[in-house]
Amino acid sequence: MKKNLTATMALIAAATAAFGMTASADDAKTAEIVLEAENAPYTYEDDNGEPAGYEYEVLKLIDDYLDDWTFNYTVLDYETALAGTTSGKYDLDSGCKFRTPAREEAFLVSNPYNYFFMNLVVKNDSGIKSLEDMDGKSIAPIVATDGRAVALADWMEKHPDIKLDFETLAASGAMADEITSVEDGVYDAAYLSAEQANAILEETGYDDLTITDRVDGRDTDFLINKDQTELQEAVNKAIDALTEDGTLSKLTEEFFGEDNFEVAKELGLRD
């Protein structure tokens, strides 16, 4: 039996060597980064299967800033990405994540590297311009684990006088379906970012829908495996420096057409 075990271990070691993936000497300083696949322009795979998006660019800047860290990238379905970051297979999840109490419980949350603004998508003739106009109206359901659902619930709690009809979904739905359900008249509004809404409207060609001005916003943060405090400190240090010197502001201008950090200040999301 013991012999068998030794033989098995030898076999496994040989197989590992054959795959050429033996551990590097200092893998303490290598961080496995997982980017969520469904999230253009934040994180996605380009046509060549390479990681791409605003957050990938931020992570490359952080990697450059941190001399003693090397980042490896994988792009994965968001559920697997989160499960993998919890289990420690990956060290950091990048997927346009809001800070929520549940996430603070499960992960180390980084400092904000961007801001995410929500708009409403409504029928042209609805007259809806903000969430305040939504009294007695309905919003297309969002999956409960989506940060948008948390942000919306927070807003509703702060505005008890406005009766919004909003329910969360148990299973993951398609974002395009939220807008389609507004087009079909099932719900009065969809709640998502202007970038997301524009991309979907372009795809679907619905021309009787309007995107309102911003109605709310949140900072987005990386989710880091609970044990990786050293990585969290390093990443936060890099984010702070890159925010301070305006690098991230410039990057948001490139990607989103305006300085998201400045807009966040105007909306009272940052000091």
Partner: protein, 231 residues
């Protein structure tokens, strides 16, 4: 309902390109599991020693837990087993984890198909083999294997069809096959027209399964060729 149907036409040729990948994740576990399954079957029809109980536990576990759970366990758990030895396998291609998990799962089912078939064959045939001077290997090669195969085939056919359909969950750990690619196309379009893209994938899986069925039908004819006159 018809919204996004143009994506059916545009995604079909893209998905066709990934048929070889799907076939890879079907054929590699098939070949490995036929060998491993035959070995497990041999252990399970033999003496009840430690190896017997170990292998029985293995079969029982992999037949009794969901395939998706097994894939996750291998994907997240295997690297943890290697970690203490200073070996980092996290960078292995997701396909390797899928193949490992699937081989464990599939060989368990194959071994049971073989075992059922082996136990059903007329043992007098084996005696007859030895009586005309066959060695153990000759007896296996000319008597046991063909008879077992003949009985196991209908069962194996079902299992192989399940195996092919099962490849469609490999995308959850990042394997890019027909379903993996379909998932990416759906993501690119943010869910717009996803039913049409899935329909394109479904048709491809169906066509592959038609071929698998034809192959098994001809194998069945081959193994039962000596019985035609009797029936």
């Amino acid at each position: 309902m018809w919204r996004g149907h143009e994506l059916f036409i545009s995604s079909l040729p893209v998905l066709v390109e990934y048929i070889p990948a799907t076939l890879f994740y079907f054929l590699v576990p098939t070949v490995i599991s036929l060998v491993l399954g035959a070995w497990i079957c041999r252990v399970r029809v033999g003496k009840k020693n430690a190896l017997y109980w170990l292998v029985s536990l293995f079969v029982s576990f992999f037949r009794g837990t969901p395939g998706l759970v097994q894939i996750y366990i291998v994907f997240f758990g295997l690297p943890k087993i290697f970690e203490p030895f200073g070996i980092n396998i996290n960078r292995w291609d997701a396909g390797i984890f899928y193949v490992i998990a699937t081989c464990c799962n599939f060989s368990s089912f194959v071994s049971e198909a073989f075992r059922g078939a082996y136990e059903a064959i007329d043992k007098d045939q084996i005696e007859a083999g030895y009586s005309i001077g066959y060695s153990r290997w000759q007896c296996f090669r000319h008597v046991i294997a063909p008879l077992t195969m003949q009985i196991a085939l209908p069962n194996l056919k079902n299992l192989e069809i399940d195996l092919l359909k099962g490849t469609a969950i490999a995308y959850v750990i990042g394997v890019v096959d027909v379903m993996g690619r379909a998932d990416k196309i759906i993501a690119q379009h943010r869910g717009y027209g996803q039913i049409w893209i899935l329909l394109a994938a479904a048709i491809l899986y169906f066509l592959i399964n038609v071929v698998i069925e034809l192959v098994f039908n001809s194998l069945t004819r081959h193994y039962s060729r000596h019985e035609r006159g009797i029936a």
